[in-house]
Structure formats: C-alpha cells, structure tokens
Symmetry: C2
Subunit: 426 residues, 2 copies
C-alpha cells in the first residue's frame, strides 16, 4: 500500500505543467498516458494543466528570454522544462507578416497579418504538433514514431524521428503521387504503402495500436493525439506575442479535423487567464474548401452536428470529410461571433496567386482557402475591415504545385531587343 | 560651382555605411551607383565601408537587440538605417543546427553545425542577396527588378519585388521544366522565356542594360551586383553570432560563381577587425560537383587561373562553368589553409539522404555537395574532425525532388496485421 501511495505521489512522467488528461465531454480525469478516449463516455481526452504557480510578469519575461521557437512557451505546453536541450526540429516562431499590400487590395484598414507557417522546418504547421507528440513519445518510452498520412504529416514525422533518433514508420495509401512519396521517404524511415484508400490506412493503424505488434509505437495523431493537438496552441501564443502581447480582433483558421481551431481558441483563453494579454472580445473564423465543407455547411444551416461528406477538392491537406472536432468548431465560431465559410477550388487558386502577387508568399492550397475565405467574408460584410485581422497560412506552395500549374510564361521572345520591343515589354 | 560643391558633399544615395565602390583589382574608387566594372581596369567593383564610428561593445548590443533577420546587421550592410521598416521579405537568421547525429556518423568530435538556409522565405540563400539588391534598386530610383535565372534566383526576385511593390521581369530559357516555371511565375511578375540557352539569356540581359529600353531596370546580379553580393556576408555574421560570437574553425561553402565564398571570408574578417570576435585562424573549404568543377580542378592542379568547363551535373544551382570569382576562391582557400574539393552526382544524392536521415533536413542538391565534400575531406584527413566545423545548406530539397526520385516505399502491404507481420515490420 505504501508503495502505491508513493507511486501515485511521484509521477514517473514529467511533462511539465501537464497534470492529467481530462475528458472534454464529461470532465473525467485520468493520469497522463498514451490514451485518447475517455473510459467513461468515450469522449476525447485533452491535457489539463496546473498553471497556478505562474506570475504574469515573470512568465512574460521568461518567454521573451526563451529560444526563437515553440520552446519559448514550454511553461504552457505538455513538455519537460529542459525540452529545448533535446534533439528535435525546433519549429515555430514563424513570421507574422504585416500584409499591407493584401490589406489594400481587400480594403482592410485595421491591420491585416499573415501568420506564415511555411517557414517551419518541413514547411507546414505539422512540425509544431509532431514536436509535442515526440516529447510525449519520449516520456512514455516509445521507440517508434508513426502516423497515417497523405502528405504534410508524413514528412513532419519522418524528419522529427530522424533528428530525435527514433525509428519511424509512416503508413500511406500505396498509390500516392510519386512526389509526395519522395518527400516522405527521404528521411530514411520505414514508409509503408497500404493497398487500399486512406480510410483503410486509418483502420489498419487502429488495429495495430490494439495489437502486441504495435507495442512501443507512438502514433502521433492517434494514441498521442491529446499531446500532439496541444502544439496548435503555439500559433495563438506567437500571434499574440508578435502583435505586442495583444489579442487579434479576428483570426481566420483552416479546418481539417477542426483540432487546430479549437486549440487556437484554448491558447488565446489561456493567455487571458494568465494575465499575459488584456481580455477583450475576439472572433474566430473557420475556413473550408467547398469540396469538403461539412463544418461550413452545418454552420450555415444552424446545425449543431456535422454531417460527413466525401471530399473532392484540391485542398488535400484539409480534406477530412468527417471532422472529429467539427461540433467544437461550431461552438467556438458561434460563441466568439465568428463564422465558418467555404470557397471553390477556383477561388482557392485565385487566392494563392493573390497572396503571392501582393506579399511574395507562396502558400499551399490550405493558405488559398484561408485567404479566399477572408476575401469572401470581407465582401459579405461579415469580417470587419476596420479591425486587426490575422490569417493563417499553414503550408507551402512547393508541396501543391499542381494547384497553380496553369501559371506560366507571360511572354516568349528571341534573344534580341527587337523581339523584346515587339512583345511590348519595354 | 557652389552648387556642385553642395551636390558632392550631400550624397543623394543613403546606403548606410557604404561609402563608395572600390575596384578589387586596382583599388580605384567611384561613387555609389549602379555600376559593376572598374572604369580603369574592368575589374569587379565591391562596396567600401566606413565603419570608423563603431564601438565593438555598442555594436554587439545593437545587433543583439535587432530583428530576427538580416537587418540586425544593417550597420554592416549597404542599406539605409531604417531598412527594417521598408517592405521586404526579411530573410535570414536561419537555424544553425547542432548536427550531433551527422557528427557521429562522420566522426566529428569538435562540433558540427549545419547552417540551414532552406528556412528563408523562398527557401534558398538567394533571399539574402536579393534583399540587398532591392535596397540598392530603391536608392537608385529603379522601378523594375530583373535577373536572368534558371531556378532559385527567379523565385527570390519575383517574391521580393511583389512584396516591395516593384515591377519584376525575370528572364529564363523558354524550355525550363514546368515545375520551375510555376515556382517563378506564381508571384505574378513578367516571366519571359528566351528562345535560346542560359548563355543566350545572359547575353540578352547585358544588351538590355546598355539600351534605353533597360532604363530604370535593376538587374540584381548584373548592374546591382556589388550590392547583391554583400548579402552573403550575413551568413558569416549569423554563424559567428550563433556560435556565441566566435569564429568557426572550418567552414564548407558551395561554389557557383564563387561570390558567396569570397563574401563569407570578407564577413569573417570584418567581425575580427570590428572586435566582435576574437582573431584566430579559420579555414574556408569550397565544394563543387564533379560535373562542374572548374575551381576544384584548378585548386588540385595548383593553378591560379580557372579553366571554364561545360556543366553536366544534377547540382544545377551550382552549375556555372566559368565562375567569375574563381581566382579569388583559390586565393582564399590557399591563404586560410582550406581546400576545394568535388563530389560525383551519386555522392551528392547519398549526402542528401545522409543529412535527411541524421538531422531531418531535406537539402537541395547544393546541400548534398557541401555535405558530400565534408565527408570526403574528413575521410581524406584534410578536414580536422576535432575542430568546430560549419557546413552550409543553401537550398531546399523540395526544389530538386528529381535528384532523389529513386527514394520510395520501403514496403507495400495489405491493410491487415498478417500482411504487416509477413513484411517483417513488427
């Protein structure tokens, strides 16, 4: 008995301020571990923190003196205090671009900023979440880092595992485009093609987690999901600190599973509760592609539940037809006074080109979705152009070149001045 | 007469500490302007600075309090003091990765660091040099930013011009691969295909500069070359500051025109002269692909002149057969006790995979060249593994996917555990 008491009073898992896992539905708490569903109600588990020891001014100074990556926020994340000394890709602290040209084109006068996560090590926001999952994997003694993926996540896991000295094993549909296979394979881990579609891949991964063969495996977005998901909070922290410790008035976030949007809301509320920013209203807007718009459809219809869709859009990184966090996204958009909107594939391409032409930022299709939705919401009078607005770009255009394949030469000439003049270029 | 005196005493061009242009061959000085060749001897012009007012400790503090991009070094660059307030891509301050896994594989015990310039806005070091050229273009009243290019430079110029509100006109061979055309075209400037090869493109650009049609045009790597080239100094500054204001013992730099290597040497010497780092010996090593190795060939043969070659290598971003700064590179390698070495295309691919597998960094072919040369020089006993060594990665693997196209799935299985076990993955 005495041994049991000591064991429960001395947790073997050091994940900094993370105190327990808590069910988002029923509030049931369990100790930190590689679990993701509530044993009582099957609701999703998330991290519960103990921030009680923090003084606002001391915390702000500690953050500002920290490294130029997500670990400056280690006191607010489920990671050990010495996380910055462990080998990882050190993502984050990406540029918040003051997008004055884009603001002018869209008629925004209150300040328009693009949070550009293409600056992360593997050029997508996935590096943030994988870095959290990696620390949880270390804490739980896992030796293999794994995931199912069709794109950005595969590269983020492969790269993070390589640097951290983990084995990696990534599962993808066997018939993925060759370019995406190369991007995932170059880091040298196991890359396994599954004969089936993405649903088959996911079903197989769930089976593997429940089997002895999966022992020691950390699936970043399955059994490590509560830790993984917290990484998106860093987007909220960085935006506020880069605005001078101020909440944005409006923020436009892409929706895939919806997890990122819910964690950005969580991060903003934490900063208020910790006294790091002044409490004032903010609105969160969700952005989807029309070809995979289950959440915007539900929002517009006034529904509380999200009806699954079969995705058909060029925004592959957002193409989750049955988004797990969809109902939470609806709650947040309605509670904050935001909205959820969608754009067509043609509008996505237009928005990619608009952002590139005005700010020199070449975004992935997901960035086309947020910029396109921003434009649409301004034109509809839903976004207030006189308020400070932040738009997320979560990925890199080099990974979705096909989307803008129609872009090309503006002229072809012979190598002489006569031909140059004939083309009207002088 | 009085008017003339006032005019010469009040320079209209404010480029900070840049005082004049000075010929690298004969030392002849001319005022700052869009010229690149000495009117006396046709030697290359470079920037002469007036750093006389700086106090070392004050300067160091000013730099450390500066922004997390190249403009922290504005006091040492040909840019106005308020450069950080002008619209540009704010490149630089990229990660210096402590590459412990790679060091272990290569047997380096003195510290091995990868300076990873794939973290720049358009994912190559070219953002650094283009940012300098842009400020010169502003100072000289140019309205069009231009270049000839076959790759990284085209994107860097297009993006920088878009953000700064310049017109851009980039010239490329008309038959470039579609992917590279898209990467350059997406920023919305003029992208002109020239019916001819890269030499024809360059010849045409020189013709255009001499013609009234080229008035108001800043060719970043031709008439703005003295300013442009200085951008590479920031690599030296950042490496030293990130090492804790210390010179590296050994640094491995890729060679295309050779300009980058000469400017890194210039940057390191400036830090010594300014008292920002302790004076101690450093060695600079140049890296080429065997398929375009005019400088390493001359180095090994003990020649002072560089004989042009016809390039044939996968390292396209280094494929300059007649490198303008080749003789200076030879001087520097010999003076510092370094060397110039080359690797085969197969060694480049191996090195790209080695860096990805050990550090999670996916490098362009140019990064494969520097990592491959580092390995070769260690094995040959030329690089000392007990000394602090820095290796540059100047670009991103996403831009040269073809080089590692052979990388792929490590297994293909059916979506069940039996198939998983049969594949030996358990």
């Amino acid at each position: 008995m005495a041994v049991q008491t000591v064991a429960s009073a001395t947790p073997t898992v050091d994940l900094g301020p993370a105190a327990a896992l808590s069910c988002r539905e029923c509030g049931h708490r369990v100790p930190l571990g590689p679990v993701f569903a509530c044993e009582e109600c099957f609701g999703p588990l998330e991290i519960a923190y103990d921030f009680s020891a923090y003084d606002a001014e001391e915390l702000r100074q500690r953050i500002e003196a920290g490294p130029a990556n997500i670990w400056r926020y280690a006191p607010l994340l489920p990671v050990p205090a010495d996380v910055a000394d462990k080998p990882n890709l050190n993502p984050g602290w990406t540029k918040l671009v003051d997008a004055r040209n884009l603001a002018r084109e869209l008629g925004v006068t209150g300040g328009l900023y693009v949070k550009d996560d293409s600056g992360n090590p593997t050029h997508s926001f996935k590096d943030r979440v994988v870095a959290q999952a990696l620390e949880a994997a270390r804490a739980f003694g896992f030796t293999t880092l794994s995931c199912s993926s069709t794109g950005n996540l595969a590269g983020a896991v492969g790269a993070a595992a390589a640097r951290a000295g983990f084995r990696s094993c990534v599962f993808i549909p066997h018939d993925l485009e060759q370019g995406k296979v190369v991007m995932a394979a170059v880091y040298g881990g196991e890359l396994v093609g599954i004969q089936g579609n993405y649903d088959d891949v996911n079903r197989f991964c769930s089976e593997l987690i429940g089997d002895p063969a999966g022992e020691g495996w950390g699936f970043v977005n399955v059994n490590l999901r509560p830790y993984y998901a917290e990484g998106s909070k860093t987007l909220a922290y960085e935006v506020c600190e880069q605005l001078g410790w101020r909440l944005p008035d409006q923020i436009v976030v892409p929706i895939a599973s919806g997890s990122q949007l819910t964690k950005i809301d969580k991060g903003l509320r934490e900063l208020v509760e910790l006294g790091l920013v002044e409490d004032r209203p903010y609105k969160i807007f969700g952005a989807q592609a029309l070809g995979c718009s289950p959440v915007s459809t539900a929002f517009k219809a006034g529904h509380d539940v999200v009806r699954p869709q079969k995705p058909d859009t060029i925004a592959k990184s957002l193409a989750i037809g049955n988004p797990a966090d969809g109902p939470y996204v609806l709650d947040i958009a309605r509670r904050t006074g935001g909205a959820v909107e969608d754009v067509t594939d043609a509008e996505i391409v237009d928005a990619i080109k608009l952002l590139a032409r005005t700010e020199g930022i070449f975004a992935e299709t997901a960035g086309g979705v947020t910029v396109g939705v921003t434009r649409k919401l301004i034109e509809a009078g839903v976004l207030d152009p006189t308020l400070t607005t932040v738009v997320l770009n979560t990925g890199d255009g080099l990974k979705t070149l096909d989307a803008v394949a129609g872009t090309g030469l503006t002229a072809t000439i012979r190598p002489n001045l006569e031909s140059f003049r004939e083309a009207g270029l002088a």
